[in-house]
């Protein structure tokens, strides 16, 4: 794991990507810092942490797009996966290297709130510290998603564009949910479609029509029964679900000064799940 980690870290700085990412992050934070801190004379740095949430999603693919795509394209993955190192360690090595760069950029920006407070601004330390923790967790999730996408294609450009697309979709998820019809029946329809998609994925994975059938029938049956017996469950269901899994709404808790430990648990489990999926995608490729 250490070998892969160091190699990745090194490659961020032997190619321009690492520098471009750092520069992007610093310029981004710098602009908002100028705007809020210097022009509006607002010492509440959490505004900056809020403002950059979307734009940073354009920077993260710089870190993640080449992670596995490049290895597959150059066939260097043959070296990694025939070496006596477990696959999860290779994945973790790469993931931690990307995370290190992200963290490094974050740490460098910390000098801004520190400078603000040194210049006599009354920085709300708790809010800003919370904001940074949240921002870090938020970055962990999106970095993992970028890595997952990179493990699925050997074309870096495709990986980058797909990552930005998926990031935007996730970012706008709760907004989209509020635009959809909020009737109970529509929610039921969406649930049924979701069950069908899950059943299809299960079928792809295990190729067993019985297991697939059972999952599908039980899932749809349960959804329909609930619809008739506990219809209130379907009120605003989509919005609630979208809010619950939204990576963005949870983040806003952090920089508004609410420290809810369940949010930390959510982000960490989400990240672990995506890293796990990445390992599965790579394992699966060997069998195809």
């Amino acid at each position: 794991m250490r070998a892969v980690y160091l190699k990745e870290l090194r490659s961020y700085f032997t190619t321009p990507l690492g520098y471009v990412f750092m520069a992007f992050m610093l310029v981004l934070f710098g602009i908002y810092f100028m705007l809020y801190g210097l022009i509006y004379q607002n010492a509440d740095y959490s505004y900056v942490l809020d403002a950059v949430t979307m734009l940073i999603l354009f920077a993260l693919p710089l870190l993640t797009m080449r992670m596995f795509s490049e290895e597959m394209k150059n066939k260097t993955d043959q070296l990694l996966f025939t070496s006596p190192v477990k696959i999860w360690k290779i994945v973790m090595g790469k993931y931690l290297a990307a995370l290190t760069l992200f963290t490094l950029a974050l740490v460098i920006t910390m000098f801004q709130p520190i400078a603000l407070s040194a210049l006599g601004g009354s920085v709300p330390i708790q809010k800003v510290a919370g904001g940074y923790i949240g921002f870090f967790l938020y970055g962990c999730c999106f970095t993992a998603i970028g890595m997952l996408i990179s493990s699925a294609t050997e074309n870096q450009l495709v990986a980058a564009i797909a990552s930005i697309g998926v990031f935007m979709l996730i970012f706008l998820l709760d907004g989209i949910a509020t635009m959809l019809p909020s009737t109970r029946a529509f929610a039921l329809g969406v649930i049924i479609i979701a069950v069908l998609i899950v059943a299809f994925l299960i079928y792809r994975a295990v190729r067993d029509i019985y297991v697939t059938g059972i999952v599908g029938v039980v899932g749809i049956g349960a959804a329909v029964l609930l619809f008739f017996f506990v219809p209130s469950l379907y009120d605003n269901l989509l919005v609630n679900v979208a809010d619950w899994c939204s990576l963005v709404i949870r983040y806003s808790d952090f920089y508004t000064g609410v420290f809810d430990f369940s949010n930390v648990v959510f982000y960490v489990s989400f990240t672990v799940f995506i890293v796990f999926l990445t390992i599965q995608v790579i394992e699966k490729r060997r069998w195809s």
């Binding site: 070998a3 993955d77 043959q78 990694l80 006596p84 190192v85 195809s288």
Partner: protein, 316 residues
């Protein structure tokens, strides 16, 4: 050392390996031959654990690559078809990374890299970026990479492909050296390559093993017809027709025209038939001077083509 049992590999609906089994003893040098798309790389990728087989298993020193991947992989050095090089590293950095991957103890690293770079003669480029190396050097860095960690078993997938003739001889010599203290599997579609070093040749075609023997035995058993190469002065069709009709001749064809007014003819004779006198008599009767007559050497190329059935296809 290696036991390959009933390997089947499907890519979707395409059957790439169809029940391939063989064993390789410690210290043996085995050539793995087959035309493009035969399944050589697929087999090697399965042995090294890069791919999983659809059915069947591979044991390296009794260890299954699937159940015991770390231990099994430790015993194997692999040079894939395309050397897995990080081109933005220097040779030193790259080999040091490979040492870390293969868990070479820190204390042995420097010594091992020095020894291996000397052995494959890349000493003089150790500080250069791999990107800037010539193809031959890149290939050798690939071989160096496979040697790191002192694996007992080396698997080289087409190690001389794309090199110039001088590099080819050098890499072959290198392989010959390596064959002295390693179990070795080399794949190739050039026969001369394996003929020189291999104790045994496995010929594979369309995912099946079609022959397996020593190079010498293959030469003895597989080629049943004799061949003559002739250069005769005279008109193309007359010469060809005349020779084709001589008793004992199975097949005659014009290969090319090298000298003005003369044709080069390849002749295949019935088994045990010596047609040289008959050809001489025929030519002297018709006043076709014989400029050259020699029996062609039986080489593995022919056996190979014969067994894989491509010659028939070409003729048809």
């Amino acid at each position: 050392m290696i036991e390959v049992k009933n390997l089947v590999k499907r890519y979707g609906n395409h059957l790439a390996l169809d029940n391939v089994s063989f064993t390789i003893e410690k210290g043996e040098v085995v050539g793995f031959l087959g035309p493009n798309g035969a399944g050589k790389s697929t087999t090697m990728n399965i042995i090294t654990g890069y791919l999983s087989s659809t059915e069947g298993e591979v044991l390296v020193d009794g260890l299954s690559v699937l159940d015991n991947p770390e231990k099994a992989k430790q015993k194997i050095g692999y040079l894939p078809e395309i050397p897995p090089l990080y081109t933005d590293m220097t040779v030193n950095e790259y080999l040091s990374f490979v040492c870390d991957l293969k868990k070479v103890p820190m204390s042995q690293k420097a010594e091992m890299i020095t020894r291996i770079t000397k052995q494959v003669r890349i000493n003089d480029v150790r500080k250069r970026l791999i990107r800037n190396l010539s193809k031959g050097y890149k290939q050798r860095v690939g071989i160096a990479q496979a040697l790191i960690g002192q694996p007992e078993l080396l698997i080289l997938d087409e190690p001389t492909v794309g090199l110039d003739p001088k590099q080819i001889t050098e890499v072959r010599d290198l392989i010959k050296n390596l064959s002295e203290d390693h179990t070795l599997i080399i794949s190739s579609h050039i026969l001369a390559e394996v003929q020189a070093v291999c104790d045994r040749v496995i010929i594979i075609n369309r995912g099946r093993i079609v022959a397996e023997d020593t190079p010498d035995n293959l030469a003895k058993t597989a080629v049943k017809s004799n061949k003559l190469e002739l250069r005769i002065k005279g008109s193309k069709n007359d010469v060809l027709n005349g020779i084709s009709q001589l008793p004992g001749i199975k097949f005659a064809e014009i290969v090319r025209i090298r000298e003005e007014g003369a044709v080069d003819v390849n002749v295949e004779t019935e088994e045990e038939a010596d047609v040289r006198e008959a050809i001489f008599n025929f030519c002297s009767e018709n006043h076709y001077p014989i400029l050259m007559m020699k029996t062609s050497e039986v080489n593995l190329e022919d056996i190979f083509l014969q067994i894989t059935g491509e010659r028939e296809a070409k003729r048809a």
